[in-house]
Amino acid sequence: MSKVHPICARITTLLLLLLAVGFAAEPRRISVYTPQANFQVDILVRDGVDYVGLTDLLEPLGKLESRIAGSKLTLLFNGGSADFQNGKRQYRTSANTKLELPSNFLLVDGRGYIPAASITQILLHIADLSAEFHAAPRRLFVGATQFRYSAELRHTPSRLVLTFPLPVHPTSVIEKGRVRLLFRREPVVSNGADSVAYGDPFLLSTTFAEVPEGAEFVASVSQAATVSIGDGGRTVTISAVAPPLPATPPAGSPSASLASQPHPAASPAASPQSQAPRPRPFVILDAAHGGSETGAVFSPTLLEKTVNLALARRVQKELEARGIPVVLTRVADSLLTWDQRAISANTSHASLYVALHASSSGHGVRVYTAMVAPPQPGQSNRSFLPWELAQSPYLDKSGIAASMLAAECASEGLPVRSSSVPLHPLNSVTLAAVAVEVAPLGASANELGSPEYQQKIATALASAIASLRGKLEAAQ
């Protein structure tokens, strides 16, 4: 047997150590699903015990106030209260009941931490909320939020249809021989049949398991597969990719068979997009500001231009997962003039223009249309109009788009307001045009940089844009 060179052994050890440090640095979180919102809370490990911050857990659920006096923390939540003592297990509720935590209460940097194992107990005694905590996958369901799916194998052609009571938007990963659906944001739980063997020529078997911070559905398939989402996100269909058409396209031209296929939801195996002709975009997303024009400065490290672009990318991803073609006015930190943005929109052949802004003032989402005079009688979108009044004939469509965007955000539990405003470049856009300004839900502007909050907004906007598609394209 050959000896391993000492230098190689040291390098390997070093790499393994670095890898271990990398894994250790990955923060662990608990996914919390509530009727109002889904969010994640970070886990703090002390003496081998998992802890969660009381503020992180309770703040999104109601009115929270905490007072610290020495080593004592008094928590006021929705009319109830509780007293905790740093380093003690015992705590007292407003009903003067003495209760005990499985491990000591911690006060770290002015923030109270409870053992993760006591989350359901705390929610019940302080917030009067029933909850179910799945410890291994770190998923907390507050109230009756969890829902189950049904799976049905349909034939000719073979396909598996998963039906959900509420819209879902899983991340789909298509690998050789299997399709994985990852549910990060949805409180999907087992339907009682975690492992099913189908024995179908296409679909061999399926498994469902809760994984850290989510759930995973895996379908074992015998050939290349595609995933499509329908019924507003309530059905997910896994089907075989149709074989290519026999017709031979002219040399050098894009493959006709690929272009004719519907855009699958994240199916890299099935759709080499580089070969397909670019479809006409339905929506053009404009991340406002960029380059030297930063927009609002929320903190030295959080700028509006960055938040806008991150949000635009998330909305783009969500829309593409729904098969909706989308273009962005900017994909990097570049400066564009208002006229360049309007020209991009007007020449994109898209049906909808959405400008994205962010603000630390106020709460939730604001949807704006242009503040421009309505069209004169007899004036149409073919009339010659001044550049700054070009939006005028499209105001009705913009109004419909704004209403639907606002309604979808409201249905996601976000505070929302619609208005009109003189805002560049809305007045010069010759298609349905809206601007969306996102503000934090709480008092801290840092929420605007939170991936969870951005994703929540992006999902709501993408759902609204998807539901607008038929209406606007028909009108066009």
């Binding site: 609002a296 802004h357 604001r366 405003v421």
Partner: protein, 195 residues
Amino acid sequence: MISRKLQYVVAALVLAILAMGFYLVHLKRKAEFLATPPATQALTAPVNGPAGGMTLYLASDEDDSLRPSTISAAAPSDPGERGRLTLHTLIARYQQKDSAHLLGAAADVHDVYLLDPASAVVNLNAAFADSHRSGVEVEQLTVFSMVLTLKAQLPQLTRVRFLVEGKTRDTLAGHVDIAGWLDAAMVAEVAKDLK
């Protein structure tokens, strides 16, 4: 038995602690006094003219609202001066510590010019725009609040335009377009949803 020397030292230390405590309270009061914005002085600016009702459209960032509030203030007979005083009073309100829509401490309006009874040009100082918070909603509330307040004081007004230090500016603070004329009736119509 505690030595007399130690007693003197302890007494001196107690005195020093008390003196430092008093000095700390004095410094705190001084800091609070200096932090108080001087803008409230504008409310009592000397003007000629009888006192009358002045309607201010006050913005609130908390609930994105614009609500009218009537106060008693001097009303100069010259419409331009009346417009300037009205906006001066409005801005002073926004500079108070408890304002629901804070403006910079140095923000002010230089002049209000009436080109004709229906057209007003508001000339703001540079600090007004430079210190204004950036955002669609927050800028919209400021602009609409000023237009509606001006319109309430000068009912014949149909359009308003803003200048900063006498020059046209594209946006107030990066968002809301203030380069052109704002239609007062359209602003009033949109503002109905902000109550």
